[in-house]
Amino acid sequence: MNLTLKVWRQKNKYDKGGFVIYPMEGVSHEMSFPEMFDVLNERLIAKGEEPIAFDHDCREGICGMCSMFINGRAHGPQKGTTTCQLHMRHFKDGDTIVVEPWRAKGFPVIKDLVIDRSAFDRIMSAGGFISANTGSAQDANNIPIPKKNADEAFDAASCIGCGACVASCKNSSAMLFVAAKVSQLALLPQGQVERRDRAINMVKQMDGEGFGNCTNTGSCEADCPKQISILHIARLNREYLMANILE
């Protein structure tokens, strides 16, 4: 099939950037979205132009590196799917596809569609862990955990840190990302000791990184490729408020 791609090109973080239109012929239904970009880039290189920079790595929907805003949606229109798992069979011949980077103050553009998500790492280092030095652990089965809690903790833990929640939120809020980690660890007995500090410190770091306020619109949940529930945000709020009240 033939498509028209309208892709954001930006030389570096200082450049203003703008859209460039690429007619894209001979796209196969079996291709994934990044594979279509590979083909486009091959053509650009053959023509002597600079290929489009975009983040991608595992191409199986788990590393969280890919990050395209496709036709107005983070990771495109397919529910629960990362850009790399979005296949071209979901588009029609003749479609125009607009591709932009995640746009948020907390995620500055590095080049073209590549953005800087190091803010997420800094939030994690503020408290997204359980302090358990190597070698200090007790036998794993000494900590029984109800299956229900383990499963719910897993749901939260399946976050891939791609930033789609920030990208799709009208306020560029990182609450779902932070909530997923706080919630996972709050649900597990191992996470109890540090639960209050964790909530306070992670939220503090998040606020300092320039993400907006959560207004519970639910866009994050709708565009999350791992379909992490917005209910985890409720748990983060509870953790944070309790931490403040009880501290």
């Binding site: 950037g17 859209f19 805003f69 036709n71 107005g72 949606r73 229109p77 607009v98 932009e100 746009r103 948020a104 103050k105 907390g106 553009v109 799709s168 009208k170 306020n171 560029s172 809020s173 609450m175 306070i200 939220v203 503090k204 998040m206 606020d207 320039g210 993400f211 907006g212 306020n213 959560c214 207004t215 519970n216 619109t217 639910g218 866009s219 709708a222 565009d223 529930s229 917005i230 209910l231 945000i233 409720a234 748990r235 983060l236 709020n237 509870r238 953790e239 944070y240 408020l241 309790m242 403040n244 501290e247």
Partner: protein, 227 residues
């Protein structure tokens, strides 16, 4: 962490919004109760008496302070949040299908809130200021509040403004009610649906239909024929 830091944190800011919002919602129920007295078939006496209590009760004086404080805090925090949120995406998307992932009203609490605020100002100017500040209710030969209300609603413009504002209020509450429970961390998988259903009932049936009944019934002369 100091209280100031808490109030300025993203979650703290929202908690203030949620708590003040819920408090103002309770006031709405009380207000609705008072207004419903207008439908009491006694020539408006119950309502007049009620208005009289509002003006003279010490308890109400104290609650009034909290009410205004809540309103101011709610609006002030809203302005802060809106301003902050307007700066977090310096370059806008050229195509942004946010309407596929969230509702218009959930994204535009600022707009619905502004309409409601405008109405509150008009409403206070019309009823609260003359009756409460100048204190002319309740004595001999003074105006009949019930009569005043009826006359106000018989003005088509005012009735329309009232209706539109109530509609906005209903949608504001529909999102705000369940949102505030989430902000306060009070919902989970079990209560989620119950809370959002309760929120919708509160917003559309109790507050929406309840308050909308006044302009409609008075404008068409169905109520208030005995005043």
């Amino acid at each position: 962490m100091t209280i100031k830091q808490f109030l300025y944190s993203s979650v703290g800011t929202k908690a203030v919004m949620a708590l003040t919002g819920l408090f103002l919602s309770i006031f709405l129920i009380e207000h609705l109760y008072g207004n419903l007295l207008l439908f009491y078939n006694d020539g408006g006496n119950a309502f007049i008496e009620y208005s009289h209590t509002l003006v003279h009760s010490l308890f109400i004086r104290i609650v009034e302070i909290f009410l205004f404080a809540s309103l101011i805090a709610h609006v002030a925090q809203a302005i802060r949040i809106t301003r902050q949120n307007s700066e977090v995406r310096p370059v806008k998307y050229s195509v942004y299908k946010v309407k596929e992932t969230s509702t218009w009203f959930s994204r535009n609490m600022g707009i619905t809130g502004s309409v409601i605020l405008f109405f509150i100002v008009v409403h206070l100017w019309q009823f609260f200021v003359p009756y409460r500040i100048t204190g002319t209710v309740g004595g001999e030969g003074q105006v009949n509040v019930a009569q005043e209300v009826k006359e106000a609603f018989q003005n088509g413009w005012y009735a329309a403004l009232y209706l539109v504002s109530v509609a906005f209020l209903a949608f504001h509450l529909n999102h705000g009610f369940q949102s505030s429970f989430r902000t306060l961390g009070l919902n989970n998988r079990k209560y989620e649906n119950v809370i959002s259903l309760a929120g919708s009932i509160f917003a559309f049936v109790i507050v929406g239909a309840g308050f909308a009944s006044f302009p409609i019934l008075f404008y068409f002369g169905i109520a208030g024929s005995t005043f």
